[in-house]
Symmetry: C2
Subunit: 434 residues, 2 copies
């Protein structure tokens, strides 16, 4: 990997998501060499990915070049690489650009989409975990309408104008809401020859309520908002099959649809080489102690969505969200400094600042530790929190400008099909190439 050898201990961080980035930032001034590895050269602000997918924001507004964070930090290195394996015996990371010895390894590789073994779904539905996938969704949605305009059969038009979102977590709720906003404010102006009473948005949740990691009040409010916006919400429903044409479900309901957006599950983005005893089977998360240290490998730490710390308040692990990831990264930054100077590490303690989800224009739900609210004020809070959480002044300014413009004009000017992306033969949407 062409990293110079020094007298300093070497800390290798895998992943520049919320956890890895917070850690790298908090290591400023440490007496060590720090190597950050990610397969992308940018940090992605995932909570706004659905706005890229629905033409509200440009890809560049929610991504930040990782190398910029490294500026003027003499012993910090970034490498764009895919890590294939770790060798805990020899303290070594193996990647597509070579191997690297570590003194301390931090794994912050997060999660990836989980299809529960459903191969059809993996082939024909579209997940939304990366910028490429969000841009693919944007193209796909718009291509559907361009096709619907020239379709001569009503069934074909209905097929193209029906969208199925699988998964009732924040991502699914936000995507379904944004599609409803597009129908209400943008699409009918762009396609005056189409009948938008025939555009259908289905949101399918296997559990008995949406947003099941939030309060019941938030779940109820989100469902009410979505229904007001014309989204067909289905709870206690599972999708069985999808062949690119028709979705079949556990209740017998059958939905012909050109577009199935898959937000129903994630699983740990594991890296080969961790011993099996350190894994929690069903979630593929890595078990760590109070210091985010692997229970089997003293020099390996795990933070972010991939880490599973069985804390008394969170026996099944912390929620897989930005806040715990950021707090873990900061805490580990302090602990590594303590470790290197011979002091005792401090156990990680998550401070719950609450959670929130937006549903659409003027509508959001917010759970604070002791308080719940929803509606316009919640939506304002959601916007400010997300705006100020974005990395970099430029991104903040661009996003604010776009939001104000979109809000005032009921518009989304990102509706550009830059790379057309209609399903072709056996191209899988989850392929790394697309």
């Amino acid at each position: 990997m062409n990293i110079p050898k020094t007298q300093l201990p070497r800390i290798v961080i895998i992943g520049a998501g919320f956890a890895g980035l917070a850690l790298a930032r908090s290591l400023r001034g440490i007496n060590a060499q720090v190597v950050l590895i990610d397969r992308h050269n940018y940090h992605l602000f995932q909570p706004l990915l659905y706005q890229v997918a629905t033409a509200g924001l440009e890809a560049g507004s929610i991504a930040y070049p990782v190398r910029k964070i490294m500026h003027e930090r003499p012993n910090f290195y970034f490498r764009m690489a895919r890590v294939n394996e770790i060798d805990t015996q020899n303290q070594c990371v193996l990647s597509d650009i070579g191997s690297l010895h570590y003194d301390y390894l931090v794994i912050a590789s997060g999660t990836k989409t989980k299809f529960f073994g459903n191969r059809d779904m993996e082939r024909y539905s579209v997940p939304m975990k990366t910028l490429k996938q969000a841009l693919n969704i944007r193209s796909l949605v718009l291509e559907n309408f361009e096709q619907a305009v020239v379709a001569t059969q009503p069934q074909e038009r209905d097929f193209l104008m029906t969208f199925v979102v699988v998964g009732g977590g924040p991502t699914g709720v936000e995507l379904a809401g944004a599609l409803a906003d597009m129908r209400e404010h943008v699409l009918h102006k762009d396609y005056p020859d189409l009948d938008f009473s025939r555009m259908h948005i289905h949101l399918i949740q296997s559990g008995d309520r949406l947003l099941n990691t939030m309060s019941k009040k938030s779940s109820a409010a989100a469902e009410k908002f979505l229904q007001q916006m014309g989204v067909q919400v289905h709870t206690n429903l599972r999708v069985n099959t999808y062949d690119g044409q028709v979705v079949t479900t556990s209740s017998g309901l059958v939905i012909p649809s050109a577009t199935v957006l898959w937000t129903a599950g994630v699983t740990g983005a594991l890296i080969d080489g961790l011993s099996a005893q350190t894994l929690e089977g069903s979630s593929n998360r890595v078990l760590v102690n109070a210091y985010m240290q692997s229970i089997a490998h003293e020099r390996v730490f795990v933070i972010g969505d991939l880490a599973l710390q069985r804390h008394s308040d969170y026996p099944d692990g912390h929620p897989q969200m930005a806040q715990p990831a950021i707090q873990m990264g900061k805490q580990l930054g302090k602990n590594l400094k303590r470790l290197l100077s011979g002091r005792q590490m401090e156990p990680f303690k998550y401070r719950d600042k609450g959670s929130m989800a937006t549903i659409g224009r003027n509508r959001a739900v917010v759970d604070l530790p002791r308080k719940h609210f929803s509606g316009f004020f919640a939506w304002l809070v959601w916007m400010f929190v997300h705006l100020f959480s974005l990395v970099g002044f430029h991104n903040k300014a661009i996003v604010l400008l776009s939001w104000v413009y979109n809000y005032v004009n009921y518009d989304r000017e990102g509706r550009l099909i830059v790379r057309p992306f209609k399903k072709r033969g056996f191209v899988s949407f989850t392929s790394d190439e697309i």
Copy 2:
């Protein structure tokens, strides 16, 4: 194409570039049905494409959704389609989404990259006429540096850090200048482990001066600016071959380089079905009379870069730039209204407002009809003219914000490799799929 039949005459416009868009806009209120066809669903502001390629602007900031221009115009239709052929006998356009009868046809399909029959160049060099190509260049440039960082051999690093721009017109000059700006202000901060005295930018021009459609003063100023910025300018030099590894030239100069950017020529983007007698052989432009009417087909008009009108002031046709295209579109809009109301059409008269090119930070050249200037003031003029020429308030605001930010911070935050694009095997860069 699913366009309703009406009593109104039907005007079909092929191409939503500067000419086609100006025409469509100026047809507001006409007593006709208007169908605009383009293979993209957006109008592209090509003069700023090089800034997308060099990470200064996001793709969405210089593209504008065509359908938005059609809002609230009852008899206007847009179709995203690729036109394969026109049948002047039966007055019919044949496309990948069906055929369409026209009463009047306007061809505004512009130009495409010309490789002068050099197959190697077509395969291994990268042109820059579309948004996809600009984004590919951005990825490619950044991927080179990510590879250079881990390269162990000095020759390999030099190969990756050498850029060859072929073509000394405005696009080539602006690209070479922007690469030099990136080296000066951004790249050395991102890659402190690389020696940027070893990064080379070659600009190769076959003629005896750069910007040969502008004044000799502008050519000289542009060359001086580029040399100050460390670009190696070669005039009277032709590239012979490039195999993806080494550029060979007419003087015997040999340049090993991973990246050849091709801006050396364009040719008319002709559509099958125009009779051969209407074409100008070497440029593939279509001969038109004073009303931009095809000399062979009374109901076919041609505007923009594709049109060749032998005017006494411009015996070889008007310059292939935005201004003539826009003026042709506006004039044809007036003429079609006249034609439909039985009045005489007016001949097209180009009013030269001058031309300009930017070289880099604080450096541009401007030719007005009677005046030439260069340097900081020219650069300010260049910026304001381009800013106000952008379509849409949102794009203007985003571009202004990005420019101010980039200028103040000596930065370009778009340096994101969203879709990696390293040359692989026999993938051709000019393929439509990429």
